[in-house]
Symmetry: C2
Subunit: 349 residues, 2 copies
């Protein structure tokens, strides 16, 4: 059974507040001040904190502690061989710090001036500072993951997961950039890219707490699969929302992926089923495109079954993700993790 959407939203919000307080604590505005202000810029601008919420909920579920009853600085180890104080909040902040570093560098690469409703770091500061802020967060994420107090063998495994995750995120981003210059990308290649660019960090968010708490291999592997599945579902759902959610709710022009010629699960399926993507939208910037033009393009994608394909794909991934949660004790935190998987594809934006 999954927790209701409302319960998930509340659970994520409650943990978000704790994560935000910890970000301020772990990442104070040190000297050089400009560098640290730039490093904190996006972290302070908001964000749902879904990944650290996954980390904390997995810890709660594994240790069978009451949600939010746990002190995130002192989770009990699972096998009684380790210390009784493993600081899962340090791991959660580490994961969010990696996410923030990738957003800062991605915004430079994509020349995006806005993020979370505020100027991106390179816009608010400058490109030099943005590159350095990302590099600083990168190192800090490893420092935080070294500060959980877990036994060294587990810390080494968690760091190994973190390093390999970062490598794969870079590989995924590199594929994403390369796909912009290719006309023959397949849906399979796209899903691989999404897995590397987005899903691996969800996988790390779910797996790392299991490693640090001393869970067995079956459990850590199942949690990795949960993260991979919901991460892919999340991105593919984003592709659909870009087409179906009104612009004012989306916070940007609906269909901007189409206008920008971005390949998505929807458009790649359509291309494989005879739709000519170059003819879908003629306008070349989100500013000049009309709602009627987007409506016509969405109708064509709908007729090709491509929107339904992406919806079904993300739904299947969420079901698969939830099935992996069976390794966890049957408790409220597990129900929230299942609910969170559903929330990722049921959210309106």
């Amino acid at each position: 059974m999954s927790a209701s959407g409302e319960a998930v939203v509340e659970a994520v919000a409650a943990r978000r507040e704790l994560v935000n307080a910890s970000v301020s604590e772990y990442l104070p505005i040190d000297k050089p001040e400009r560098l640290y202000r730039a490093s904190r810029h996006l972290l302070d601008a908001g964000g749902k904190r879904l990944r650290p919420a996954v980390t904390l909920l997995v810890a709660e579920a594994l240790t069978d502690t009451e949600p939010l009853g746990a002190d995130y600085q002192s989770f009990p180890t699972l096998d009684a061989s380790g210390p009784d104080e493993i600081d899962l909040m340090a791991a959660a902040v580490s994961i969010e710090t990696i996410q923030s570093f990738t957003l800062i560098h991605d915004d430079i690469m994509d020349e995006d001036d806005l993020r979370r409703g505020v100027p991106s770091v390179h816009s608010a500061f400058d490109t030099e500072t943005a590159i350095l802020a990302g590099d600083t967060l990168y190192a800090k994420a490893f420092e935080f993951m070294l500060a959980t107090g877990a036994p060294p063998e587990r810390t080494v495994r968690a760091l190994s997961e973190l390093a390999r995750t970062c490598t794969r995120i870079c590989e995924g981003q590199s594929l994403d950039v390369a796909f912009e210059h290719r006309d023959d990308v397949t849906t399979d290649e796209y899903i691989t890219m999404v897995e590397q660019k987005t899903a691996v960090l969800y996988a790390a968010a779910a797996r790392v707490p299991a490693i640090l708490l001393g869970a067995d291999d079956e459990t850590t592997e199942a949690l990795r699969q949960y993260g991979l599945d919901i991460g892919r579902a999340f991105q593919i759902r984003d592709d659909v929302l870009d087409l179906t959610v009104p612009s004012e709710k989306l916070g940007k022009q609906r269909g901007s992926d189409l206008v920008e010629g971005k390949r998505t699960a929807v458009t790649l399926h359509a291309a494989e089923h005879g739709v000519d993507l170059d003819d879908l939208v003629v306008s070349e910037t989100p500013a000049e495109v009309t709602e009627a033009e987007i409506d016509a393009a969405v109708a064509e994608l709908d007729a090709a079954g491509s929107i339904e394909y992406a919806r079904t794909l993300s739904r299947d991934l969420v079901e698969s993700g939830k099935s992996h949660l069976e390794v966890l004790p049957d408790n409220e935190a597990r129900r929230l993790l299942a609910g969170l998987a559903e929330y990722l594809i049921e959210r309106g934006y």
Copy 2:
């Protein structure tokens, strides 16, 4: 006693070949190929490999093995409690990988088109790829440091050293950028910046092998000091060489630091002793400056005692660095480390 300059050059060259072979092995041209080619671009373009040479020589000195007699994949641990196969080459490649990542990102920030006689990564590829290549090497450096086979407690300490080193390099680079916009930088601030931007990686190169091999705290701390001293000496010597080495030997216009208004140990000392830096060189680009103009500026700096100041400072730092080597067994590798310290300030370019 220090090894002769000739012996040091030979020792570094012999280890460089082994490091280069290991770089190819640890960092194959994987997929996405463009990303990995960009990641390897500077590593393949050469470089002295001074930092990994320090790492390997410290390992040889500590374990009292004959220089180059050691198999870098299987160094013996010092205290007999650990395994007999600690791969110091993985650590050496990790340090060099960090160095390469910082060069790639620094070149983007400084808009430098050339590095080691080849186009910088963002020139040979593009800025997006260069950011990602740096980010990939960053993660790989942690992966390599996780692959030495050292006991987990030591691996955790080595990774902690690596992460904190990266944070400090970013802080140092941030100070360097900030100094370009300030007229009141002091020599003390400059030396702090050099320590963070450059010297900490030498410190890590010297300290990490001691940690991994299980040396005591006195030894690891002395080696850290050795690295800090020679790293600072290296940079301050570079500041002098920019003024005194003929352009054709330097590979760039002599005095380009002056033309570009870069603050150095020499110019900051001069400013503190009444020299007006703005009047030193009128030409604004290395292309338009004349040898006569540089000669006049150098004469003024010389008259202020600033060149002698920087020479003495780097010499004192090398002497200090060498004194810290007394914690090591008296062997050939230790003499090479002392000789390497002297080489850093005696090299012609």
